[in-house]
Every structure is written in C-alpha cells, then in structure tokens.
C-alpha cells in the first residue's frame, strides 16, 4: 500500500491519501425514441490502491454503463450525465477538459473488455496495437514500440512472444487474446483497471489462468481493480468488497465474506439462493420470481419491490436510501450498506 501512495503521490505533486476513485451520486440516462432510459440512478462507490471492488449485477443493472462513464467512453448523446461526480484522486473528471481527460484514460485508468476478439482491430497485428499505446502516449519510435510490445506479451506469459508479435488477433486463442487485452491495459502502468466481464467468454480452465494472472499483476503493481461481473463464483474468488447493482442503483455493499455469509438485501439473498447447492439435488431451485425491470419504466419506490418476497406498502411508495448496516446491539458493520427498509430482518433470515 505504501509504495503506491509514494509513487502516485510523487506524480501528483502532493501526497494524496484518499481513495483512488470515488464515484458519487452518479446518474446516467439514455435518450431513446420511447423515452428516457435511466440506466444509472445515483451510484456511489470508491476504490483504493491495491483493492478489488466487484460490481455484481445482471444485464441492464447499469454496471457496465457506470464503468463506461468512469472511463469516459460513453457516446454522448444518446447518453447524458445529468448529475454526479467521478473523482479520480480527489479531482472530478466530469469537470475536466477533453485533453486532460484523455491524458488520464489509458495512462491512469485502463479498461479490459469482455470480448477480446471484437475489442481488438482484426486488420492490425497485436504487436502494432500494443505498440500504439506507447507511440500515442509517449511518442516513441515504431521500433521501440515493438520492443515494448514484446516485453508486455512476455509479462502476460504469452509463449514465444518474439515470434508471435506480428500475428493478428484471429491467430490467437480466446485465452491468449484476453491476455493481450490485459497487456494492453497494463501497458502504461495505470493506477486503476476496470475489467468488464473479463472471463465471461472463456472456458473455465482458461478463466482460472486469466484470473490468476490478473490478480498477480494487480498485486505486483498495487493497482486498484474494478471487476464487473455477473458470476458469483468469480467474485468470491478474487474480490475484497462487493457492490450489488439492480436497476441502476447499488442495493448492497459489503466485504466479500460478509456478503456471502449474511446478505442484507433480499435481491442479494435471492441471487445466492438460486445457486444450485449439493443438498438441494432433485429439489426445485429457488428462483427470484418475475423479470428485471424495464429501464424506461422503473417501478416506483424500491425497484425490486415487484419481485421481492418482503415487499410492504412502504417499499412501493418510497425509494430506500443506502442504510448503514449494524448488528442488533448497534455496533456498525464496517463497509456494509443496504438499500432495503428491512435490512435488519433480511440479515437475520438465515
């Protein structure tokens, strides 16, 4: 932890102690023909150096849109950010100019995409695409960029990197392509990496290789990592803390062990209960009834209320804030919050 503060501190001029990234009350909307789709409705999260935050959610929960807003790669329009702050090392990136934003993107915050085959340019060799990072940001020569590309490929353990540097993306397997994506994200030694479903397209044995590599490199460089995923298994393996998203809001945050042991939101509980368990063989699986909401028509009150087994009148009338979660005797549980009026009851459900 110390080394990162030192390193980043020197670069920023003054030592900075706060979180690397601090997203506050972020709202993102998309203007569509049928109305305004509210994809993100007031998201708060923060990541420190060396920390892994997992953002868990189903499709349409706003987890990727939040990441794209942080990265500054949303198409605006149709998207717009009516409210919110995205603070990187204390400075709101939404208030920065285009050029300044661009200097942060790639250099300080990098992103790994889900589908490496469509994220890479099919008509350029991987060596060229990796080297492009150095040429665009550091202005090095082509030859030097190529040497750097080989170094990077070796760092993510691509065998015979020297021979393969001139190969094209389609000549690599899925796992190797994802390694190249990781290499590209690492190229400029960023402080923060956002990985959007980095292993969803991969087979389990390859997924294990890639996740291991990512965790190792994260520790080596003491980077912050935001892992966006829908896979409860991957989260349990690597995350320090978790933010669960539903219909554009964070419904629960908790350190990883506590979230799995004692969820404080009915949606999280439902997700955990719908995983097939050994002792349930032959029985009906627990299923959350109904469907995720249409973002054009998010239900009033708590967005989860139509699917929630615990819903009362208050849930249909009022939007629950993110309540701090505490033990019965009032001892606050650090880092735990739940956007449910009945978090206390939910916590005791098990």
């Amino acid at each position: 932890m110390n080394t990162a503060v030192d390193r980043t501190g020197r670069e920023a001029g003054t030592p900075y102690q706060g979180p690397l990234l601090d997203v506050r009350d972020l709202h993102v909307e998309f203007v569509t023909r049928d109305g305004v789709a509210r994809a993100v409705n007031g998201v708060n999260y923060s990541v420190r150096a060396g920390e892994t935050l997992a953002v868990l959610g189903e499709s349409g929960s706003g987890k990727s849109v939040t990441a794209q807003a942080v990265m500054g790669i949303l198409d605006m329009p149709p998207a717009r950010i009516p409210r919110g702050e995205i603070r990187f090392r204390g400075r709101d990136m939404l208030k920065m100019g285009k050029d300044e934003r661009r200097r942060i993107r790639g250099r300080k915050i990098a992103m790994i995409f889900q589908d490496a085959l469509s994220a890479l340019n099919p008509v350029l060799s991987v060596g060229f695409q990796l080297g492009e990072m150095f040429r665009a940001h550091h202005g090095v020569s082509r030859a030097e960029a190529r040497t750097k590309a080989v170094e990077l490929m070796e760092r993510v353990r691509i065998p015979a990197a020297k021979e393969r540097v001139n190969d094209y993306p389609h000549q690599f397997s899925g796992g190797m392509r994802q390694r190249i994506m990781i290499a590209m994200a690492l190229a400029l030694e960023p402080d923060l990496i956002i990985a959007d479903e980095p292993t969803t397209a991969l087979d389990v044995t390859v997924q294990a290789q890639v996740m291991d590599l990512l965790a190792e490199l994260q520790a080596e460089y003491n980077m912050g990592l935001i892992l966006i995923t829908h896979d409860l298994g991957v989260v349990a393996d690597v995350a320090d803390k978790i933010a669960v998203m539903y219909a554009g809001r964070i419904v629960e945050t908790a350190p990883v062990h506590e979230l799995y042991a004692r969820p404080a939101h009915p949606y999280t509980r439902g997700l955990l209960d719908s995983i097939p368990r050994l002792d349930q063989k032959g029985q009906e699986l627990y299923a959350i009834k109904g469907l995720p909401p249409n973002l054009l028509r998010i239900p009033p009150g708590c967005a989860f209320n139509p699917r929630c087994p615990r819903a009362q009148d208050v849930c249909r009338a009022e939007v629950p804030e993110l309540f701090p979660v505490a033990e019965d005797d009032g001892t606050p549980l650090e880092g735990r919050r739940s956007a449910c009026f009945f978090w206390k009851e939910t916590l005791h459900d098990r």
Partner: protein
C-alpha cells in the same frame, strides 16, 4: 428406468479439410467427434460437459441428424437412425427435439410466437390437425408458463427468459421422447436461469421426457443430471453418476475442470486446491497421439503418447471410483474440493 431409449455406438464426425479449388484434395479432417459411445435411459437426464471445441454441440447435431455421422451408430429404441433419410428420418425426428442456446437468434423475428411454436405442426400435421392448432399452441404456452394470450406477439416483445420458454414450447410441440438441450440457460441472467431449470425439471416429470443436457456450467449440470459425461477434444473421457463424477472423478481432466470452477463461497478461497492447467485445447484437426489430454496432463508418461486409453471401468478401483474413465492411471484425487 432401465430401458435404453438412445444408444450411441462409436460415433464419429469428421469435417474434411480440403485444398485447391477445382480438384478438392482432402488434406486432413477436423475430428470434432471421434468415437463416442454412451446410452440414454428413458426418463433420465444425461449431462454432457466440456469446454468449447470439445465437440459437445457437434454431438448434438449428429444425434439430431442435422449433420450426418461419418461412422458409428445412433440407435433410437434399437433402430439405427444415423443413416436414415426422407420420410423415415422425418418420422424419427418427431421424437427427438432440440432446445437451442441463444433465444435471441433461434427464434425468427418476423414470425409470431404462435407461428413459431405451431411450425412443427406444419411438418407433422398428424400431431395436431389444422383446426386444433391454435388451441394446441395456447396449451403449450400455458405449459411453459407464458400467458396464452401472447400468441400473436413477436419475439422482440419478450425477455430472454421468456424467449427460452418459447423455444422450449416449440421443442415440446411434437410430444417428443427426447429433448436435447444445448446450453439452454447460458445466455440467461442468473435470477432467470433458476426459473428455466425448474421448468425443465417440471416438464420432465409431467411428460416423462429424457434429456440430454449440454452445458459448461458444472453446478447446473450437477443439479439437473442423473448421469454426467465429460468430453475432451472429441472423446468422452469419463462418464458416471453425478456422485461418481463430482466426488470421485478418476480422470485428470475432470479433476482439473472441477477444481477450476469458481466456487461461490469466499471462505473456500484459501482452502481450495486448484489445478491450473497450462496451455489451451489442442486443435481437433491435429490431436495429440495416444491420450488427447496428455499435452496438458501432469500425470502423463510415455505410455500416454503411444496408447489410446479406452473408456472402461478401471479394474484397480472399487466403490464409487469404479466407473468408466479413459485414463491409463486413474485414481481419485485426495482432498478433492467439494
């Protein structure tokens, strides 16, 4: 339960690789399915797991006779259907239906739900005569938990989970005896997956269906399957009851596969012993000699490169460990993670 409804014997599907334009010369073959034997019992669910490229989807296509087998036999109630054509094939196909992976591309966007589910009746009018079709389709919608009044809607008006229900209704239309499900829930959200799995189980009880359930999600396969087969590079490497495979795997590949699955329990993070395989699956056009897994196997010896291990019950093992496994050195791994 004992009766075999489907028996597969030494099934092979090779796709030829050719060179040249005019005189297409065969220079090799992609050995997608390379000598697979198993049987499916009446009313049972057989899970097939394996990574992409192992041939599990090709296997499904060959069983459906969408692809013609290169050699081998597929016996449906004792009759070989792998070489049938024309009317005889049509008659058999009624009994084997399929549910596809992607509910977004497997439904024609220009057809109404009623037409999609009713289309099988066009091909097999004997199942539902013309006048009864609308009623039959509405019944099917009801069976899969959709509102029968949705009959005139189009696929885009439904969510992913609902579309998969439409796909299942189409699969059920002809009252088949076997349904082959190729990754039926992998495109769905976690909270919706459980709904579809429950529906499949409920339908199996109601109509006495036999399922072949192809998936890569091992926990779902374990939940739904009576027996599980593990495929690697066109071969079945291990097959047995869920307890035999999940708790007493004797093939190194199965062990690695099971250990690599992320467990949704953070307390297992440290205690879990993972086997991380090096490298990728070799090309099925040029598989390794002998045992196909040997290039990634930590137990591989000289014998593995010379002799192809047969899928058989190892004589050295007993109890639940004694089930069919294609390895020269089969043994149950100690401290196998649950």
């Amino acid at each position: 339960m004992a009766e075999n409804i489907l028996e597969v014997k030494d099934l092979v599907k090779h796709y030829p690789l050719t060179q040249g334009v005019l005189f297409k010369k065969q220079v090799g073959a992609v050995k997608a399915v390379d000598g697979i034997s198993f049987e499916l019992k009446k009313g049972e669910t057989l899970g097939i797991v394996g990574e992409s490229g192992c041939g599990k989807s090709t296997l499904a296509k060959v069983l459906m006779n969408l692809e013609r087998a290169t050699s081998g036999q597929v016996l449906f109630k004792g009759e070989d259907i792998s070489q049938l054509s024309g009317g005889a094939l049509k008659a058999v196909r009624r009994n084997i239906q399929m549910v596809f992976q992607d509910p977004y591309t497997s439904l024609n966007p220009r057809m109404t739900v009623g037409d999609i589910i009713g289309e099988p009746f066009e091909i097999h009018p004997e199942v539902a005569p013309k006048g009864d079709r609308r009623k039959a389709v509405q019944d099917l919608l009801d069976v899969v938990g959709l509102n029968p009044e949705y009959i005139n809607r189009y696929p885009h008006q439904f969510s992913g989970g609902q579309r998969q229900r439409i796909g299942i209704a189409r699969g059920l239309a002809l009252k088949p005896e076997i349904i082959i499900c190729d990754e039926p829930v992998s495109a769905l959200d976690v909270s919706v997956q459980a709904q579809v799995i429950n529906l499949l189980e409920q339908l199996q009880g109601e109509f006495g269906l036999s399922y072949m359930f192809i998936a890569h999600d091992l926990s779902i396969v374990r939940h739904i399957s009576d027996r599980v087969g593990v495929m690697y590079l066109g071969k079945m490497v291990e097959i047995g009851s869920d307890e035999q495979i999940y708790d007493n795997a004797t093939h190194p590949y199965t062990q690695a596969l099971l250990s690599a699955v992320p467990v949704p329990d953070p307390t297992a993070r440290e205690s879990r012993e993972r086997i991380i395989l090096s490298g990728d699956i070799p090309s099925p056009a040029n598989p390794p000699s002998g045992c196909r897994f040997r290039t990634r196997c930590w137990k591989a010896q000289e014998r593995c490169s010379e002799e192809i291990p047969l899928l058989a019950i190892p004589t050295t093992l007993e109890g639940p460990a004694a089930h069919e496994s294609a390895c020269h050195f089969p043994e149950v791994r100690e401290s196998a993670a649950a």
